[in-house]
Symmetry: C2
């Protein structure tokens, strides 16, 4: 019998009634498949736990992980109970019981190994394994968390490890949209998307799937489906490029307000400066996104602009200031009043004019572009935050995304 | 350096502020001792989790244990964080990380083994081990709970295992009282009590300590102290009889409203009937307390009366009814409108007249006695529930417990 992995997020397990609904969904799939169900904590629980941690106000990542991973323990117990009530052979398991081994990086652990043999042993006794998402155990024997959205990573890692036919990510939306429907009401659900497009859309702000989980699925050529836990409709499939009949030029418009801009001006323009700055960021686990480097007008000094997540801005600044002697810059400025708008699509690779259309449209709307970065299938620009909705609506319109 | 165990219950860890207070208490003891701290879940959390389980309404003890043991994970994380903030080398550990091995009896697991070597290894690296109470891991690798009040058992078992100098049970009262101060405002705090007295008082309703934990302390000759987490005063010491200079005739009056009475009448009076009934109860894990057997008036048939915990009454009835063919009784009746009142004291062993004084006092107050049971250091009677307060107050008075 083939296996599938089904993952349900926090809003899908928010109440016992909702978990009862999940039990029905799992039951109907269990006719055809052996199943690993991955659950998050009840919506709101992780935030409540985080607020307890904030009250302590002391950085202790090992303890934070221990606290934050307690929420899934409740939901997996409840679902397994409800499945048993439906007559299904089910067992609830925690990360360390598989085990899902991670590195020692607390609060954003990376999975090193999953014990498949153990999973297979459980499948000899049970038809459904209900597994806590978001958590693993470090090689030193301490509970780790995989960071926000880590349950997606658990789901994809398990599905890849057991070569599941499919990994279904159930959520509170019924798929991936051409853009945020809260901003553009003409946004359409996308039926199929490539990993690459989904990656660009996640990393540029479409909060449906955690970036790491899409990377992992791509690496393992695992079919993902994003679908709603509340309707019984098909969702958005995320697949290999070969499985798409025709690539859309532009598949979607995404945005992010979670980044801040750092500009370091007047740095002596000599080799190794960029390596120094971004090496520092990397070794401190700060995720740098867009990078723009200019030679300044005097031709001697350079300016470097880049973006980091808002919550890492203070640390990034501190790190740069600490290296003042080596960097020898004249000015360090930051800007949190920015949004990143991106258009994404596989078809861009073979089509010209996509960028031009984007810049023209923004210009027509008097939206100033502060920085640009491109990949083969994406163009991102930084703009002032207040223009976010206007930019999204006008770009959604100009690429005819409502006509799909 | 000697070790002590400090256990804090749910009301003592109800908020981050209260846990902060515990961190101070632990810090001051850590000057003189290596410490294992045992914590319960935040007050109310276990009840909330239980109500989620109740909503599912399906008996799945393995799952129930998994859910119920998630609460301690939060409190140990928070306390360990706060200790680290105070500069103390601390580590939070779950039951399975020691491991505390239990049998397979979910919802009331019994500890089979504690890995001391591991605890000692942790003590080479840390000064304080913050351990989740109430939980263990079965030999099959599933999380078990030790039942309500199980954190006391964890504390005493760990203290015995590492031969701690003392096990301090911090709670919301400042010691063991001669009776419930909410019923008799002249109740006095007892300074020292023997294990045997404490055992009789716990099992007859003084809810300060779980019976099993006192048994375990007695077996290991471990000094217990019951004290308040909110004041800085000494509490009640529970010690070996030899450590008491003089035994009180009566140490306290306790009560329980948590039992129901079952009467089976008209059973053929032949050998083996009691063994059959109580064998059935035992094999179904129903705790029978008082037992009274009478020959009925016809001299042929017997009546058996006994008490069971309220929440086991329905099951007990079901079991008896299922054996109707063998028991051949004429009537089965139950009564939930009862209270058990007990007077307890080591001095009873060598003093006569204690029982007589009890019966006379109750008679004077027109309180009818429905059943009597005695041990060397305790006399218990069943009465109608409405007389509970009156019985306690008059007995507390007649034994001069307010004069201690």
């Amino acid at each position: 019998m083939s296996t599938i992995v089904m993952k349900f997020g926090g809003t899908s397990v928010a109440t016992v009634e909702k978990i009862r609904k999940i039990a029905q969904t799992v039951k109907s799939e269990s006719v055809n498949y052996k199943i690993v169900v991955i659950l998050s904590a009840m919506a709101g629980v992780t935030n409540e736990l985080q607020s307890l941690i904030n009250k302590v106000d002391f950085k202790a990542p090992k303890e934070a992980d221990l606290i934050l991973t307690s929420g899934e323990q409740v939901t997996i117990g409840l679902l397994s109970m409800l499945l048993k009530k439906e007559g299904i052979k089910s067992i609830p398991l925690l990360g360390w019981q598989i085990p899902i081994i991670t590195d020692e990086q607390h609060e954003k652990g990376r999975i090193l190994n999953i014990n498949n043999e153990n999973l297979n042993k459980y499948f000899q006794l049970y038809d459904v394994i209900v597994l806590a998402g978001f958590q693993g155990i470090s090689t030193h024997g301490h509970i780790t968390s995989l960071g926000r959205g880590g349950s997606d990573t658990t789901a994809v890692a398990i599905a890849s490890s057991i070569r599941a036919e499919r990994c279904d990510i159930y959520t509170d939306v019924d798929g991936v949209y051409t853009t945020d429907p809260n901003i553009e009401n003409k946004a359409k659900k996308i039926n199929k998307l490539t990993y690459e497009e989904m990656l660009e859309m996640s990393s540029t702000g479409a909060k449906v799937l955690q970036t790491r989980s899409v990377e992992l699925a791509m690496k393992n050529n695992l079919t993902l489906q994003v679908l709603s836990s509340f309707t019984n409709q098909k969702g958005t499939y995320i697949v290999n490029e070969n499985e798409l009949i025709e690539n859309e030029i532009v598949s979607g418009v995404s945005y992010s307000k979670n980044e801040s801009k750092i500009t370091i001006s007047g740095i002596p323009d000599k080799p190794g400066i960029s390596a120094l700055i971004f090496g520092l960021m990397a070794s401190n686990n700060i995720n740098v996104d867009m990078i723009v480097q200019n030679i300044s007008q005097d031709g001697i000094n350079a300016n470097i602009t880049f973006t980091v997540p808002n919550n890492e801005l203070d640390e990034a600044k501190k790190i740069i200031k600490a290296k003042y002697d080596e960097l020898n810059y004249s000015n360090l400025s930051t800007d949190t009043d920015i949004a990143k708008i991106s258009v994404v699509g596989m078809g861009m690779m073979s089509q010209s004019g996509v960028a031009e259309k984007m810049f023209t449209t923004l210009a027509k709307n008097k939206i100033n572009i502060q920085a640009i970065s491109t990949s083969e299938i994406k163009i991102s620009v930084l703009i002032k935050k207040i223009y976010t909705d206007l930019a999204i609506q006008s770009l959604h319109d100009v690429y005819n995304l409502d006509k799909k």
